[in-house]
Symmetry: D2
Subunit: 346 residues, 4 copies
């Protein structure tokens, strides 16, 4: 088959590789029907994730059709169309049983396109198939369900639920690339009073408005903290969601929140940040971090099926699977292309 293979920092190719086969009895082999690219894949290509070995097939998000299963697979059968989640769950370890497969100690967690071959391929081996794939409701398109492989549960769990967004809250989202837009989408489920998008790029702020932000601040030009003081009558935001992954944006979040406020970090960080405890110790702040667990995937599936989340609008560009390298180009240059998520179909 063909697959997108990582060959060390900066190097990748859509090339021939052997077809995957069932290795463990809980595996499924899935034909990839629809797949996307994640910002994390770009990080891997930059060499930020040294645990990814050369020769690895990338990708951790897909919709596909089951073609084979191991003897221990109980609830998934060939012919089933499934969502392949970015998180694999062994289903047996304590973290999995407590609803936290992102921290799985039984061989799961984030493994696809990371520690084992991933979904940017014609076929993929999916371990722990019973607890790592989801069947999905009739009447939904592949491309909307595909957004539930990673970006929407990540934004919902790590941003909105960790940040305890509630009705009437003022929510600041710092960084409105794909994951920030997903955070705006997910925050809207709780009817916040205001969603304020903060970014350095006007084009992204424009997109944020379309996704539901009612205020925007270009923090390169304007003082975001002062803006939020103004909107909130001098209080500060109830929740600030970090969706960039650099120290500056994290530190900005800690300045934006009111006493009792929450900072929910979604960004993938490569460097430490400064936590200004000399002013924060007295302010009843909560800071959370997290990798998605996907415990919310069934809820999000219900919401997409009920047309309460417009997931399709994330998909700005469409390609054939064989155009994988073009799709990477488009996704890697959003300032030029306006890409939010690219969708590749068989």
């Amino acid at each position: 088959m063909k697959a997108l293979v990582y060959h060390g920092p900066g190097a990748k190719a859509w090339e021939d590789v052997p077809d995957p086969v069932v290795v463990d009895d809980t595996d499924a082999i899935v034909r990839v029907d629809t797949v996307t690219i994640c910002g994390t894949d770009l990080h891997i290509l930059k060499g930020d994730t040294p645990e990814v070995a050369g020769g690895r097939i990338l990708g951790h998000e897909a919709i596909g059709t089951v073609v084979d299963v191991g003897a221990g697979v109980k609830t998934v059968t060939p012919g089933d169309r499934v969502l392949v989640s970015c998180i694999s769950a062994c289903g047996r370890c304590q973290f999995c049983r407590d609803g936290h497969p992102g921290q799985c100690t039984g061989g799961g967690g984030w493994i696809l396109g990371h520690l084992i071959d991933g979904t940017q391929a014609e076929y993929v081996r999916v371990p722990f198939a019973d607890t790592s794939t989801y069947s999905f409701p009739a009447g939904c398109t592949d491309e909307e369900i595909l957004m539930l492989a990673d970006i929407l549960p990540t934004a919902y769990e790590v941003g909105v639920l960790n940040g305890r967004v509630g009705p009437g809250d003022t929510v600041a989202v710092v960084g409105v690339g794909p994951i920030g837009l997903a955070a705006i989408t997910a925050a809207s489920l709780y009817t916040p009073g205001h969603v304020i998008a903060i970014d350095l790029a006007d084009a992204r702020l424009k997109a944020a408005e379309k996704f539901g932000a009612d205020r925007t601040v270009n923090s390169g030009r304007d003082d975001a903290a002062a803006f939020i003081q103004d909107v909130t009558g001098g209080q500060g935001a109830d929740v600030a969601i970090e969706a960039v992954g650099v120290p500056d944006s994290f530190e900005l979040c800690t300045r934006l929140v009111r006493p009792g406020g929450r900072v929910a970090n979604i960004g993938v960080h490569g460097k430490p940040a400064t936590l200004h405890l000399e002013s924060l110790w007295i302010r009843n702040i909560t800071v959370t971090t997290g990798l998605v667990d996907t415990y919310s995937t069934p809820t999000l599936l219900r919401l997409v099926a009920a047309h309460k989340i417009d997931a399709a609008r994330f998909a700005t560009h469409h390609f054939k699977l064989s155009e994988m390298e073009d799709a990477y180009e488009t996704f890697a240059h959003p300032a030029d292309t306006g890409a939010i998520k690219v969708v590749l179909a068989r």
Copy 2:
């Protein structure tokens, strides 16, 4: 009357001052029967709290007898014996109505011995008397109830409740001076599996054992993180409580907790700390800060009355009110004196 007056960094005296009188109609004048000294008072004396003006009477913890009340006081009457809390609550602002008077915007919060004259005196004016004092159950001694003015609600709310200590948890307490010992006491209410005290002083670790720690680590000699990995089968602590207020001890806390763990900061910090988001972003960590709100004071009063908290054991040294300066000496040098809390009585 006599009172302990602050005269700028390093200077204080037990001296004659005018008696306090009712200023606002919600004030009570309370004769101080029993009073203590807080670590925060020592910080003020070092000049760490520049908002405290020269001439200020210090102290924010007392048991006393009401001698006069303003016309607007409804539930407190002369003759009542009351606990004077470190936090004053206007009772009207949104923070007070939401149970967070520590953040009161109506003139309360931490004001006694800080923004207005305090309790280390023969009499004290207590604003918002209805919502800032507590009557207390018969059969309790002044000195045990006195520990509910600050140290126990602070440790309980900001350490134990913010850290969501639960049955069976492994709880690390970093710093076991008075507030750390209070955190051990408060954590015990939830029957943790292990309470591990961490400090640089063996004498304090010995005290921690008496207060209920089942393991101790001298982090000057031993690797606390390795110790906790060992106790928890390689997982890490469920909760780490910071009770010092320096960057090192905070950063240690973030290394001690397991994926999904909580770091509850109680320490009063003067400098920023480093938050290692490059490793923490993926670990589902929660970090909390806070000033006590005293919403738990009624609960703690019930627990002391039911003999479920041994609050009296914090009181290691006893003085007369007129021996205030000696009491400060004793409390300021715990390594020599073994002082945890000093109690001064009329």
Copy 3:
């Protein structure tokens, strides 16, 4: 002044009474600008609430202008336009301090138009004015804010928050008179997957659709439990909200919910219901009851100000204050008039 005076079961009149004056120093006298009638007022007139004495002025919801205040009132001044809440809060008792003034033991709770004279009058005395009235944002109309005096916080707190409605949930609302419509409105804040209105009257079900129900069942004609099994793939509703107040509708709710589901009772009951523990004991059901506490009023004010709740649409009929008796007629016969809430203005 003129006021609507209750003269025992079945008897009321809009008649001359003395103007109210400040009695306690925490009172405000409020000129009533806009007022409404509650289903509870009709219960009182039927004699269902024997603690209401003859001679009592009815009404517990109003928007008005402060004309006088007692010496102990701090934050409300003559000229302020305020929302007068159905719940008065002494602000000092433990229930008030814990956010539950509906259970106030300090003289508050539901007292207006119940134990003291109420708001269906030209002027009203409002006890505990600082903690029982709310100023409100510019740009909102009286009639939308008026819905925050009782119906919306009741539906939100006692129905939606007690029932823990969450994104994607299937919510059944049994009884879609005014309070049931308010429950649909409040549930929508959490983006449920489905809101199913259940009633005996097709006209009310039609209104429910306008307020956001996506399914309706006339339980006089159809089997509501079977309908919900069908919608939920055989599971049952996540939440059932009782908004009638009779045993049948409560018992229906307990049949509608899935294992782990919640039954939130809002209805005012006059008779006991049967709780089928022989089948429910094993199903992890939660049943809640409650009187509104109004802790959510500030949140709801923010949501109305941000145009996230369309409160105005509850107001179907408008009268002058002097047309109070006509307004009662209209409100008492919704099947004929289509009334949801009637609004009377100065």
Copy 4:
């Protein structure tokens, strides 16, 4: 092998049956080392549980040694000593993945000694072995861990956690047979202010005192509601735990709790109860029911290992496995024998 076989209401025998074998690839065959009898087994024998077929081996609690496993079992191997839980978890259905295997729709739930053969035998087939058994810490005895098969997680989850017992609470336990004593034990983990045991038998009340109740009421002689009003200053209990399973005791619980209080039902009921909504609607009451899910078993294992729960004291009588019928006699007549739990060992 020998096993205790149910032969319809009133009939049972310790008799020869075929040895169990692996049927599904997720099964384990466990040699029973230690086993106990549950009150539910007595209910089955009375014929209260008609879904139990004649010929069924009873029992759903055991400690044993794995002797064989199916090909799909990953984490359990022959030779392992394991706790066999009363609840089997398929690990794949939504209820299991949400932490509620008591409601498993994938073939688990309460099946042992109910829908399939159980543990009162020399060997038992345990389905879904990976997610339905627990290895346990060295240094614990079989008989203390055996109490974690059913009685302690049931009391903890369905009584204490559902009832939200917290520090300082007044907790009333109605019915202090084995499950009520377990509720007292589990409630103590949260340091309630008072635990009040209520029963009709003085002998059981005496046992309750030994297990940690600080007050007792014989409700056949004394007015339990008046007693609790007295203890709580006229408020009522924070939590009432029903541990009998008859309408009277449930209804008593609803009279014991304060406004805002919780009634947590553990009892297995055969008849409906009356819910006095005409007085309860206004009191902010929460009523919960539930079957144990065993999500707390790992926590309880840690607590027993840390000697924070004295589980061994439930075991009042000891037998050999072959004395099963005698053990039933002893357990069925606690008024004569004083039995709490009987323990049978190989």
